[in-house]
């Protein structure tokens, strides 16, 4: 009996060594021993949800983790519920969060109190990685008379204030922030109509309920291909040179230095162990390299922007300063 046990033990060892050597799981020091709960700070079907539900099965398909990643929606309060959930999970290596710009805007627009009474800020969380940057494009209806951005700017300045209507997702979030940027730059005034989600926003433009939107590429690409909407400019630092997206000029090159990109990143709860952070960084770095993600990135004109460590934190600080500054000018900061 003893010999058989010894033999099987040896076999297990060999398998383990082979497994580690082959780097199936990247062999970091730490690995999850239970399913990873992946909080999505928005409802089902939105952009963040879409990405989490795309990446979670990819992680399984390419065996990047021994345990599954399970997206769980916590949509309340434009992210507030999800952020407090993360605070409650302090130190837990099996909890992560996918973020969008509500990470900056929501804690600025409302005072979110933690259990100890202090105010929540994204600095409480453990930054893991920046994955993608999502762009914003100025869209008008294909039948509108505005063929170029100049046409549009002229119309915006000409009419009585508030004549042109823009649909956007939510209120005091990235869409409305961009609108305020445009208003400041052009000295115009628009009417902002809030809708519950990007799909509804795009539909409002296609149905001519409003005059323009700043939909993310993926929300409007189908309508663009069908010739129902027209992109006038992209709020990126340079043209997105993927497929036909390269045709869209940037705001900057048209003479308006307005840039805005949305963070698609991963965070852990406060005091997440460093080995766990390293594990997730590796997982997501590899997810971004899968062919399915490459395809998704191209279709949605995302910019692959994997960034970790100190540089990521510096980027977050700059982004936070930008959002706070804009919200302060708009009078949306909560004290």
């Amino acid at each position: 009996m003893g010999r058989v046990q010894k033999g099987s033990l040896a076999l297990v060892m060999v398998c383990l060594v082979a497994l580690l050597g082959s780097g199936v799981w990247g062999a970091p020091a730490w690995q999850p021993n239970r399913p990873v709960e992946w909080t999505v700070p928005a409802g089902t079907g939105g952009g963040a949800d879409q990405q989490a539900r795309l990446m979670a099965p990819l992680i399984e398909k390419y065996r990047l983790s021994p345990q599954p990643f399970i997206p769980v929606n916590r949509p309340a309060g434009a992210g507030a519920q999800a952020f407090l959930w993360m605070i409650d999970k302090t130190g837990d290596p099996h909890t992560i969060l996918i973020t969008l710009d509500s990470l900056f805007a929501t804690p600025a627009a409302q005072v979110i109190r933690k259990r100890d009474g202090s105010r929540f800020s994204w600095r409480d969380l453990t930054p893991i990685a920046r994955l993608l940057l999502d762009h914003f494009v100025l869209w008008v209806h294909a039948e509108s008379p505005w063929r170029t951005l100049d046409d549009f700017v002229r119309a915006a300045k000409a009419g009585p204030p508030g004549r042109l209507k823009m649909a956007g997702t939510g209120s005091k979030q990235e869409d409305e922030i961009i609108m305020v940027l445009l208003e400041q730059s052009w000295g115009a005034k628009f009417t902002y109509v809030p809708f519950p989600g990007g799909g509804a926003v795009a539909a409002a433009l296609v149905g001519k309920q409003v005059d323009f939107t700043v939909n993310n590429p993926i929300e409007a690409v189908g309508h663009w291909e069908a010739g129902r909407v027209r992109p006038l400019a992209i709020f990126a630092s340079e043209r997105v040179r993927v497929g036909k997206w390269g045709e869209i000029p940037t705001m900057k090159e048209l003479g308006y230095p307005i840039e805005y990109q949305m963070l698609r990143g991963i965070f852990g709860p406060p005091q997440m162990p460093a080995e766990a952070v390293a594990f997730y960084q590796e997982v997501f770095r590899r997810v971004l390299d899968t062919p399915e993600m490459a395809d998704f990135i191209e279709r949605g004109a995302y910019t692959k922007a994997y960034l970790t460590g100190r540089e990521f934190v510096q980027w977050l600080e700059r982004k936070d300063a930008l959002v706070r500054n804009l919200m302060e000018k708009a009078g949306w900061l909560a004290r």
């Binding site: 309060g77 507030a80 109509v193 189908g222 309508h223 291909e225």
Partner: protein
């Protein structure tokens, strides 16, 4: 649209859907979906989201058929717990409870279930035919519905359901106010700030309609049963397929209700921003107004089950229309399916019809097949479902409570919702004891925030001027219609009085109270 061409495409789609692999996928999806629909609080959205990762291993066509079948199954399954236990399995099956549960209590759960499944099937089937032949033009029309039009339609919904209650009018008004008030709790997307949350972050997700319905109806009913001395035995119910046949014999009587509910449900479903739940309530309200037995509604009328179920399933079909034709999610479930499109490498949108013929027509073909298979599955199971009520109460009650808790938690993944469920259970018990009607509460709660949001969006669009409701023809039409529908019951009374007849005393048909 060339109908012959469409017919040709449809035959092709049926062929795709009828391949052994796709058929098997559909059956699996239907069974799973029915199970998910039965669980209160868990719905098609959860089911579709759960299965999304699995679809990696399937071809896109099989994948969408799987998800769509889960969706159909959930719609069928939603009615089961509403009828058997007065616990809504899905938001739109709340209206089904109003007459379905009394039927079950009278020992006729089989009749109620058969009526629900059959009318679901008819509603869906007719809606699918409409979908097949008119999808693109209907999608175009739906795009013309902006916030002012949505507001007018929701107002029409309120008008059709007003007077649902024939008990104490003051209490009905009070409950309506309570429902509308609770609907305002949560994160207000128009102003981008929380309100009526008493400082609680968890309350920012709002007071969920399903959780309140589980509480006031389901838990409230358990408490009432307990109070009336404990029934150790389960309900006595006849279990045989004779119920199916006998219920079917009644169906020709309801042909107008079915036609009306199907058209109404389908169209409300197509509109993004309304959905199956208002459709089911509107359909119930209209059936009650038009039916000769309208005053008996709420006491176990088969027609009161037929109307909401037909509309809900037709709306379920309608909600997929903007998704397929325009790439716009018509419901949260459709939004998750759209996420799937990206996983499978498809571009949702108007070009899908042209570029992915197999996918689109396979999906449409599978709608036909899945609904036929689905209704056969659930009808075969009618005696089995009905047998559940025979389980002794002392086992059933805690079991139901645990399932309700899981469902309530799953809605927002937060514990506060369990407290809300318990609180509304106690409140529901007291309301019922003291003669406060529950139907106006849930109706106002489910329609309230949609209506307010549409109203405020419209006024923003009109820069503060309510003229926007009258200058847009579709909105104006529906506003006029809702005024007319609202006045209808009064007008009838006046006419009757003018004819010299005495106004018949309203029977105490207290729907859902």
């Amino acid at each position: 649209m060339d109908p012959i061409r469409t017919f040709h495409d449809l035959l092709y789609g049926l062929g795709v859907a009828a391949s052994p692999e796709n058929l098997m996928v559909a059956v699996v999806g239907l069974l799973l979906g029915t199970a998910i629909g039965v669980l209160p609080g868990l719905g098609g959205t959860n089911g579709v989201a759960l299965l999304l990762p699995l679809t990696f291993h399937l071809k896109p066509t099989a994948a969408i058929i799987l998800l769509a079948s889960v969706y159909w199954g959930a719609i069928f399954g939603g009615a089961i717990t509403s009828i058997l236990f007065r616990i809504p399995g899905e938001p739109w099956s709340v209206a089904t409870m109003f007459d379905g549960y009394p039927l079950a209590k009278q020992g006729k759960p089989g009749v109620a279930l058969t009526a629900a499944f059959t009318s679901s099937f008819i509603g869906a089937f007719v809606a699918i035919v409409l979908f097949t032949f008119f999808a693109p033009p209907l999608a175009e029309l739906a795009l013309k519905f902006g916030p002012p039009e949505n507001f007018a339609v929701l107002l029409l919904a309120f008008a059709t359901i007003a007077g649902l209650e024939s008990g104490d009018p003051v209490k009905a008004v009070l409950m309506t106010f309570l429902g509308l008030l609770l609907a305002t709790v949560g994160f207000d997307i128009v102003s981008g700030s929380p309100r009526m949350t008493f400082g609680s972050v968890a309350l920012q997700s709002g007071v969920n309609f399903v959780i309140i319905a589980i509480g006031v109806f389901g838990l409230g009913e358990i408490l009432l049963t307990v109070e009336e001395a404990l029934r150790i035995e389960g309900l006595r119910a006849r279990l045989s397929f004779r119920d199916v046949w006998e219920t079917w014999k009644m169906f020709p009587r309801y042909v107008w209700t079915i036609v009306r509910s199907t058209l109404l449900g389908f169209w409300i479903g197509v509109l993004p921003g309304t959905g199956a739940t208002p459709a089911s309530f509107m359909s119930y309200g209209m059936a009650r107004q038009f039916s000769p037995r309208g005053s008996k509604f709420g006491t176990g009328e088969v027609e009161g089950v037929v109307a909401p179920e037909t509309a809900a399933h037709a709306a379920g079909v309608g909600a997929l229309l903007p998704m397929v034709t325009l790439g716009i999610p018509g419901s949260p479930t459709a939004a998750v399916m759209l996420a799937g499109f990206f996983i499978w490498g498809l571009n949702p949108g108007p070009l899908l019809f042209r570029e992915n013929r197999e996918f689109v027509w396979g999906l449409i073909g599978s709608m036909y097949l899945a609904n036929v298979i689905g209704v056969l599955i659930v009808l075969t199971l009618v005696p089995a479902f009905a047998a559940i009520v025979r389980i002794p109460f002392a086992i059933l009650a805690p079991l139901i409570t645990i399932l309700c808790s899981i469902g309530a938690y799953a809605v927002n993944n937060q514990v506060l919702d369990l407290w809300i469920m318990l609180g509304s259970g106690l409140a529901g018990y007291l309301f019922k004891k003291l003669g406060y009607p529950l139907a106006p509460l849930v109706v106002a709660l489910v329609l309230g925030d949609m209506t307010e949001q549409a109203f405020r969006q419209s006024l923003i669009m009109g820069q503060g001027s309510p003229a926007i409701f009258f200058t847009r023809p579709i909105a104006a039409f529906f506003l006029a219609a809702s005024v007319a529908v609202f006045l209808l019951p009064f007008a009838r009374k006046v006419v009757r009085r003018a004819r010299g007849g005495a106004v018949p005393a309203e029977a105490p048909g207290t729907a859902g109270s």
